[in-house]
């Protein structure tokens, strides 16, 4: 076997091995999307009902609450970025990070100081490398987030927004950046302002964001009785609202990540197939060239011998 052929054979073998890996990853991701999608769907009744309750308080009372009143000149804004722990998911992580960068620049342009909260190793390393300050980061659960994880993430955020203005950790606004799972093929990074909700508009808007297709347009809302009081209901309701929004975002991000991985791995497998095809062609051509060369060597050698013997006869 010629040297060239051997090199091609070796490359085909290594690409085939890679293809097997990417195909396996594609199938794993595909099976996980279904599970992740089901979890998004399962969390929906809670967030829908919770949003309805928040909206009910919003329209049914006019209580002043730190989580709902807009401060006059906001100076600090928290941005929660949700990405994944691992790569191999195409543009998934970089798209979400890019969206967070845009939001950060906009907020800085508005004269606000940005405090970074990050979920997912990928985002943490990106920010570390650029030497940006991270207030708090979490990782290890992005593939399969639980409600307890969402609670852990929400806790310092709620604390920061409830903190006295001007104190070290206080923030005036809370933004969230994550990747929305639109469909198997489409996942879009979204930037949302979670708090403060300015009631009347934002609560209903965010209600529509969450409920989406469920209902649109104005609806006559009943007058509620509050047990024990509107303030206390609100006190208890809003942290839960933030948690459930974060939980929903984490689940959507997980589903999106699996979908992005599946797509990236599918195209990797396809590319490997193409590569194997063209390498096989090259290997065949090299083999043919080897054979042709050998034949011409034999023919050349034979005719040289014939010439020599013909010469000696003379």
């Amino acid at each position: 076997m010629g040297a060239q052929t051997r090199v091609y054979k070796r490359r085909i073998k290594s690409v085939t091995a890679t293809k097997k890996i990417t195909r396996a990853m594609e199938m794993i991701a595909a099976s996980r999307i279904v599970k992740a999608q089901r979890r998004v769907a399962a969390s929906e009744p809670y967030s829908t009902e919770l949003t309805r309750a928040v909206t009910a308080v919003a329209t049914g009372s006019n209580v002043e609450h730190p989580l709902t009143t807009e401060v006059e000149r906001p100076t600090r804004a928290a941005v929660l970025l949700i990405v994944s722990d691992r790569g191999l998911a195409g543009g998934y992580n970089s798209n979400a990070i890019k969206a967070a960068d845009q939001l950060t620049n906009r907020l800085i342009g508005e004269g606000k100081e940005v405090v970074n909260y990050i979920v997912g190793t990928r985002g943490v390393t990106y920010y570390r490398f650029r030497e940006r300050v991270i207030a708090k980061s979490w990782s290890g659960f992005t593939d399969n987030p639980t409600y307890a994880d969402a609670k852990a993430v929400a806790e310092p955020l709620i604390e920061a927004i409830q903190a006295e203005r001007g104190s070290e950790h206080s923030v005036d606004e809370l933004h969230i950046v994550y990747t929305e799972f639109v469909s198997m093929m489409t996942q879009t990074p979204v930037k949302d302002r979670m708090l403060p909700l300015s009631f009347k508009e934002t609560a209903e808007e965010s209600a529509e964001v969450i409920e989406g297709h469920i209902k649109k347009g104005p609806e006559i809302r009943p007058l509620y009785d509050f047990e024990p009081s509107a303030e206390e209901v609100l006190d208890a309701l809003l942290p839960r609202y933030v948690e459930s929004r974060i939980y929903n975002a984490l689940l959507q991000a997980a589903a999106s990540k699996h979908a992005a991985t599946r797509r990236a791995m599918k195209s990797a497998t396809d590319n490997a197939e193409d590569l194997i095809k063209s390498l096989t062609r090259l290997a065949n051509a090299a083999r043919q060239a080897d054979i042709t060369q050998e034949i011409s060597e034999i023919v050349g050698g034979a005719s040289a011998l014939a010439d020599a013997s013909a010469g000696s006869d003379r």
Partner: protein, 126 residues
């Protein structure tokens, strides 16, 4: 008789939904019973058990669930019980809950003790 539609939802799933004639739950200001036609209400739930007296399509009977904090909202004969964690009494593993209760007691973990106690009581009430 009029019925009210009940949705009992936990953060990660829908626990129970159906028709009922009476729902008794514990809010921060005491036990409250909700029957069809009640005034619109929004309350904060204490950890405790919720008793749903089923009616209509769901059949006569009662469903008991352990609820670990949450909300109750009622309007237009629709009652939503929202809880971070909610379990039906039938789903609760009594032995495990009792073990958890003992462990919590010995470790003086009041939060865990209350959680376990709620579950044991809900399971007993079924």
């Amino acid at each position: 008789m009029a019925e009210l539609h009940v949705e009992l939802v936990a953060a990660d799933r829908q626990v129970w939904s159906g028709e009922a004639s009476l729902v008794v739950a514990r809010t921060t200001s005491g036990d409250i019973g909700v029957m069809p036609g009640h005034q619109p209400l929004l309350g904060v739930l204490e950890p405790g058990s919720v008793t749903i007296r089923t009616a209509g399509e769901s059949g006569e009977g009662s469903v008991v669930a352990a609820v670990h904090g949450g909300f109750l909202s009622f309007a237009d004969d629709k009652l939503s019980l929202l809880a971070e964690i909610a379990e039906l009494a039938d789903e609760i593993d009594v032995e495990r809950a009792e073990r958890a209760l003992e462990r919590a007691k010995s470790e003086a973990d009041t939060a865990a003790e209350r959680r376990a106690e709620v579950r044991v009581r809900a399971a007993a009430g079924r």
